[in-house]
Symmetry: D2
Subunit: 284 residues, 4 copies
């Protein structure tokens, strides 16, 4: 039998997700997108009858209402939970914080996080890396081709980003701390550099991307940068760059965050759809 899905709010990604599910032949109810012109929505009552209820990414910004940036009305979480039944439904959402999970559990709703999965993190590294490259293209007067580029950190994003930069013809150095990461960087065809040995070497780079979740680029390193060098910071709060110092030094530094949803909502929706399918497959 055909599976029915409900997509309850969220940003453009969730709209694309609804479309992708429909393209796969599913019945999809949507609610919480009333600001989008020309879109037929279901009633919330009908939507909550679905087999799979998909809450947004993130589920909530304020902790009390559902994240519905494309709706003119608010929906309180405490009004939503009684409509759901996780015994007969799969109820899932993105980045579910502890308090939210507890709140839902109290109301008898078991929340599954589709964002907290390794394949989603990997899948999102691709649009994040491309978004970083787009930001670099827009910020520089030169091509990526031939640029000396440094990627700080060899996690998922660093790995994909280094590959993309090399694919465009940049000369790529990647910094990491573990010997095994340094061996991988070499195996992947890039120059390896220990993150603790960045000092004294930053002056040669045209482009620097930080992917490490640490304040690595402080005054001492920023002072090394050559004129025209652009820094793209992909770290989450509080960021890996001392932006105040960067401004004072007239270093062009860009804090690029939440890229998948911004630069490639369709790709981001694809990643979420796959994760939901995987959750369903694992539950049998």
């Amino acid at each position: 039998m055909q599976t029915a899905y409900a997509v309850l709010g969220g940003d453009r990604r969730q709209l694309r997700l609804a479309e992708l599910l429909r393209q796969d032949g599913a019945q999809v109810y949507i609610d919480g997108f009333d600001s989008v012109a020309g879109l037929e929505q279901s009633s919330l009552e009908q939507a909550v009858t679905a087999d799979v209820v998909i809450l947004p990414l993130p589920v909530s910004m304020d902790g009390t209402t559902l994240y519905r940036p494309l709706s003119s009305s608010k929906l309180a979480l405490e009004d939503l939970w009684p409509l759901l039944d996780s015994r007969r439904q799969l109820v899932c959402g993105g980045t579910i914080k502890k308090a939210l999970r507890k709140q839902a559990e109290k109301a008898g709703v078991d929340l599954i996080d589709y964002f907290d999965r390794e394949e989603v993190q990997v899948g999102n590294a691709v649009p994040t890396a491309e978004g970083a490259i787009q930001a670099a293209m827009e910020a520089t007067e030169r091509t990526i081709h031939g640029a000396k580029a440094l990627v700080i950190g060899h996690g998922r994003i660093g790995r994909v980003l280094a590959r993309d930069l090399a694919g465009l013809g940049a000369l790529v150095t990647v910094s990491a701390r573990r010997f095994s990461d340094l061996a991988w960087i070499d195996a992947e065809g890039c120059q390896a550099l220990h993150t603790e040995r960045l000092a004294g070497k930053l002056g040669e780079f045209d482009l620097i991307f930080n992917t490490a979740p640490a304040r690595i680029l402080g005054r001492a390193l920023l002072e090394e940068l050559k004129a025209g060098c652009v820094v793209i910071d992909l770290a989450s709060e509080p960021g890996g760059v001392d932006f105040g110092v960067a401004e004072a030094l007239e270093v062009r530094a860009i804090w690029a965050r939440a890229l998948p949803g911004k630069v490639a909502p369709l790709t981001a929706a694809n990643v979420i759809r796959d994760a939901i399918y995987h959750i369903m497959e694992e539950r049998g």
Copy 2:
């Protein structure tokens, strides 16, 4: 002895060119950039004493005055020629049309075209390809990675563009007409398609780049495109896409022209500098 250069007008590329020549240790006079704040200029009288006089790209837009978009005053070509002496100076400029060349010759000035060289065409293919990718990134809701991309034409730009797209993880098909080009496309790791056999196959692509100097994408082919497909046209006048039909069909089509100067003036300046050095080397 140190060579002296004069950079007489032009856009940002020529400013970057002046900087690059200075970085190489040369004496560089500039004139025709008075709209740029904080820039010290030479007098035209002093500038024309240089060993190498570099006219802009293009030398002239209107056929009578020098192309000086960053100047508040005009400089008539007929006032310029008497100041130059191609017996003791190398006088060069970009895209010199026949009439212009004749006009200069009459005034005793032998113009050398730095843009009409194969290595410049190749060198500019790199920023053109990156500019096309940047345009595609900005226009689509998806990543280049995983996109089915078609590049029409296997000239310099098509060749570099296909490489870059594949480097970012796109699945690349390139169309051409000659068997040898089709063999090259295969050798370069892309799918080859005969340009005369595009019909019936365009519906599968997410991204289409036209590099061929011909109106290839007319109504019949545009009607094949799937929803969300983005077309980037890199052809010069009159363009390779019927933009009127594209608009009527709600196909997103972008005519991206003169990309090197727009997206990567520094790289474009580098290409011009190298060409000038090559001209000097060839003249001995």
Copy 3:
């Protein structure tokens, strides 16, 4: 109607060619492979009735008999021509020298060369490059990955070889003489070096491939090579390396010739088949 082909002698490539034509659904007669066990052959009389007669590559080694290394008997060319009729048949062969062509013409046979086509040269560059890499792998104690490799010459083979070496993680320098080739080398992501400026720079390379048809690697350059450096020469007669000097200097130098037929006869056969189809298509 089904096209009938005759494959008259040649090496393993031609056997593979016969198989490929059969896989495409054609009627294929073979003759001149009697040394290959378990292979059913046609009579020569039957074979020459075919629509397309495919002579070997090369057609003849000695100028008087057909090249049939897999046959125990000889077939004189002057006995072959009277059996053929180029008014109703396409008669083609590989590397047809002037004298041979004249001889055939006298006998009323118009020979078409399937090897003398640009797409065949490009197609063969792929197995040649892979054969060169295989030779380097076999001759060295190190990986291609991480090797500093020099490719002398940026023709078809140099271009494909540089791409393959970079694809395996080598650090690739390509030398050429023309500025446009140097620009292409840069656009293709390799280091460019002028062939006239090799002197003084050869000591850094682990692997050197010569693709230029000239005696470039004489004593002076060979003396620069570091211990363990391996030289693979892909030039045709008389070769690009002074092998006597190389031996005296204990430089490991390998003259790798006729690689497509040796390392990848199936791929080589594919290239010939495509060329024959192209010839047929062009003749309409």
Copy 4:
């Protein structure tokens, strides 16, 4: 002060290792290579005074004598231990089994394994992948370029191998079981396939590489292979292919083992040297 090393036996890799250490400016004693002509050796007594004693890879084949394939004499482990002192020396060796470690400990020698490190495993994946490609080149009549290749397993070797194959222009599918690996395979530009869903899909491949440590290719899957398909098995004992069945089916299957030492002893020595340096760095 200069560090002194002793390289006590082993195969060609260890000889290359001694050379590399010398190139880095160290004092290096070697012992256990008396079968190699023209090589000056130290006395064992002198060698054991070194700061770092490097035992072979593996330390022992038989559990009682040191692995010295390039020596005409045997050295019993129980005679070696009393000569060493791990309080003042770093004593290291490759693949140290439990019993061996205990035996050494009893004699007061603390053995450090330089092979049991993540960066060594990664570093060896590079020559293993190249060795696998060399084996495939030698075994097939076609190029890697354009081949449909399947890599079973996305561990270190699978990952590097897929990259190399794609770098040569193969069309690469990689199979794995975890969703995160499947996401990585896609991010790395290859086609992902679930290892449990291989059945029914093997007939399309020209080349199959097994890197998974499991008997995956039994009769059912081997029967699917098309004529000419070559299988390269990189799994350790008992191997991933039923070689008896493969032979019966006339499938060309090659069990390629211990490739780094065979195809690239110099690269393998480099990896070991780096690991020893890392051990020294970690010990301070």
